[in-house]
């Protein structure tokens, strides 16, 4: 497994020196022990824009050859799969047993390791949570080549620190995720959706709270937002009788809407556009967040969880727009991070936003795991 010269452009302006595609955890450890330079791990490379650009990348480490589904015990609703397995591939195998990994980030080809490292999720997070809630065991290789596991193969397990949560969203800056163990869910028997038009931001907020405080159990509540109005979709996935009853109850609760067999085509996709933000906030602040968006923004929001993906214009001053948005949503515990931006814009903006009072502690954690700051350097909040 020799490193080859890379002409990869997966990291925008940062061209890696070499790239390597190890096919086992042992090989990953070997690679990390053999190099003293900076290493940026990636999966299929679908979300490399979600983190800040690395300060440098001597070696691009692809995990795509770690592609084995190691163990699936249907009766335990648990699967062990290597980091490079594509989510779609895994779902195909699980579906044969009427099971699923209840994660639905839309990026095509995304790998399990990449989804963990970027903490990517989709609409169904309302019901099932995100990777941090479903990952029950993880193996990583640290910068010095140490291979370490935390968690296990059972859902209920409080032995030791749960490092899976720490690695989730860490963009490979603490170690290279090589294997993942997941809690699975049964595939729902039936599905249906209710679509209701939303005339303005205030209505979006009012309807979302009404749903959240009702006894309805939608798997997802998604808002499509065109800048001034949109539509709200409630997805019900359950036994048919429950889908039917809840769809009818939802229309009554919302004072309108239409029952449809499945959600509209935009459901679950990220907004397209040159510059896309992931915005998070306390869920009831949805109207304030929508109103604070720069003019010309559009996208989707998981209306009952407090996460929105918005495409924002780049023709003005994107850096200033971003700063203004962050200031406006700060009272709602809001954050706005860049997940896509043109190369020339990216270099001039603050990718993650301000650091919290725990940043010193985050720095100490990074320095314990990766004292040489060789893994994904500069990709995390605050340039870590």
């Amino acid at each position: 497994m020799a490193a080859v010269h890379s002409e990869n452009t997966v990291l925008a302006g940062v061209v890696p020196g070499n790239e390597v595609t190890p096919s086992s955890a042992g090989e990953v450890a070997e690679v990390l022990r053999a190099t003293t330079g900076t290493v940026v791990p990636v999966g299929a490379g679908t979300k490399t824009g979600w983190a800040a650009l690395p300060a440098s990348c001597d070696l691009l480490l692809r995990t795509t050859a770690l592609n084995r589904v190691v163990e699936h015990v249907p009766g335990d609703l648990v699967v062990v799969a290597e980091a490079g397995v594509a989510l779609a591939t895994l779902q195909g195998q699980l579906a044969e047993h009427n099971q699923m990994l209840a994660l639905d980030p839309p990026e095509p080809g995304a790998t399990l390791g990449g989804i963990v490292s970027a903490n990517a999720s989709g609409p169904r997070r309302l019901r099932y949570g995100t990777a941090r809630d479903l990952l029950i065991g993880v193996t990583v290789v640290l910068a010095d080549g140490t291979t370490a596991r935390s968690g296990g193969k059972v859902v209920k397990n409080v032995a030791g620190y749960d490092l899976g949560k720490l690695y989730t969203g860490a963009h490979g800056a603490l170690g290279v995720v090589v294997s993942t163990t997941w809690r699975l869910h049964p595939l729902p028997a039936a599905a249906g959706a209710v679509v209701v038009p939303v005339p303005d931001a205030a209505s979006a907020g009012r309807l979302a709270i009404r749903v959240a405080r009702s006894t309805l159990t939608p798997t997802a509540v998604e808002l499509r937002w065109d800048g001034s109005a949109g539509e709200l979709v409630l997805l019900f996935e359950n036994i048919q009788a429950s889908v039917d009853a809840q769809s009818a109850a939802a229309i009554e609760l919302l004072g309108g809407g239409e029952s449809v067999a499945g959600p509209p085509s935009w459901f679950g996709s990220r907004p397209t556009g040159e510059m896309v933000l992931r915005i998070a906030y306390v869920p009831a602040a949805l109207p304030q967040v929508l109103s604070a968006l720069p003019a010309g923004s559009s996208g989707t929001a998981s209306a009952c969880t407090g996460v929105a993906y918005m495409s924002v214009p780049t023709d003005g001053d994107p850096g200033e727009d971003l700063a203004a948005l962050r200031a406006a949503i700060a009272p709602h515990d809001g954050s706005a991070v860049v997940i896509a931006a043109p190369d020339d814009v990216r270099s001039g903006i603050d990718h993650w936003g301000p650091t919290p009072d725990s940043f010193g502690l985050m720095t100490r954690v990074k320095d314990q795991f990766d004292p040489g700051r060789r893994l994904s350097p500069g990709r995390l909040l605050g340039g870590l």
Partner: protein
Amino acid sequence: MTDQQTAEREQASPRTLELADRLRARIGAAKVLTDPAQLRTYECDGLEAFRVRPGAVVLAEHRDDVVAAVRLCAEAGIPFVARGSGTGLSGGAVPVSDGVLIVLSRLRNIVDVDPDNARMVVEPGVINLWVTREAAPYDQAYAPDPSSQQVCSIGGNVAENSGGAHCLKYGFTVNHVMGAEVVLADGEVVHLGGPAPERPGLDLLGAFVGSEGTLGVVTQVTVRLIRVPESVQTMLVGFHSVADAAGTVSDIIAAGIVPAAIEMMDALAIEAAEAAVQCNYPEGAEAVLVIELDGPQVEVDELFKHVETLARGRHAFETRIAADAEDRALMWRGRKSAFAAVGRISPSYYVQDGVIPRTRLPEILGAMSELADAANLRVANVFHAGDGNLHPLILFDDAVPGAPKAAEELGFAILDLCIEAGGSITGEHGVGLEKKSKMASQFTAEDLDTMQLVRCAFDPVGLANPGKLFPTPRLCGERPGVRTVESAPDPALGEVF
């Protein structure tokens, strides 16, 4: 630890007494105890086999009291242990000898209730059940429900990542805690997470929850509330064999049903529960399942029909759906009182907590029963069957020489079964003092060293609840994999029983 060892140190060392005096001057004399008679109350938590007298006890009433105590400890290099209600079952809140015990029970304000965001902010001494009580007017609830929920505190729940019967569907404390204010071991106050999801930066909160007090002291917690379901129904099912009950659990899961809870009790546990709370479980049952489904009415009704068919297919001889809330409460009382109830059928008992993959349940139960027979001890079994979380209650007579030791050995042999089956040595009680030696069986030295990197970032000196969780403390700054220094003798460790 013997009485003699416990009594050895009647008064704290001059160093700790000096710290106590300085702390009295800062936060008020009434909040700091050093009288050995008063300290006795705090020698142990819910696992009474471990007893250690602290040097001083701080009855904190405010976050600043905690900060002051931790700062003084840091300056003096004196270890501290945080304690909530003291109901833990792994010795996690056992003091360090001559150290400081920080009691958080008086920090019991509900700081904020926010139904539209489904959040509540509470202080760590708030009792678990109070959160649900405060949320009830808004038709909301706090999902984690450990059996001790009437007395255990949220701070303790955060430390232990507490579960409960309903975590099968709803997850654990870590899935319901959004944010925490934490006093680090040097006295610095930091905020981990927050009311909003997806905060930029490392998920330090995820590592903190369940860290058993080894990463700092929590002084405020933001929890997520759930909507109370439209319908909650509970079914009690009687079986003539444990294997049939276990098979039914597998069948329910295989059918794609995710109940809110599936609890199982065997004949001995049923006998104890009947004696204690007259819960009216099916007569002559070798095993019962308590199955709870919640959600929209139509769904609960339909799925219960399915569950009943599955149970009948495994020769269930009685299935009964609770007629009303009172009936449901009685069904649960039998289960939730089971630990205490075995006290009625045995002079003493010892609870273990292990997890196995659910599909291995019948096989492991057989192996457990063989081990119990070989040890000549009776074991009452109560489990969160849906999760494969075993709670064997090992009955013994402490008047019989060697019996406590035999019970402990049986408990640890059962944990070995759990590890061999690919499970865990603890599903909810934590590692604490009791099981730290077993961590080396479940994890490699590299795994444990890596966990301790987090410890080194949070508490490099090792003052926060030292001697718990890890079999061998790591010296921070030590290179991974290079273990050059033997751990110092553990002042907190006595012999079990």
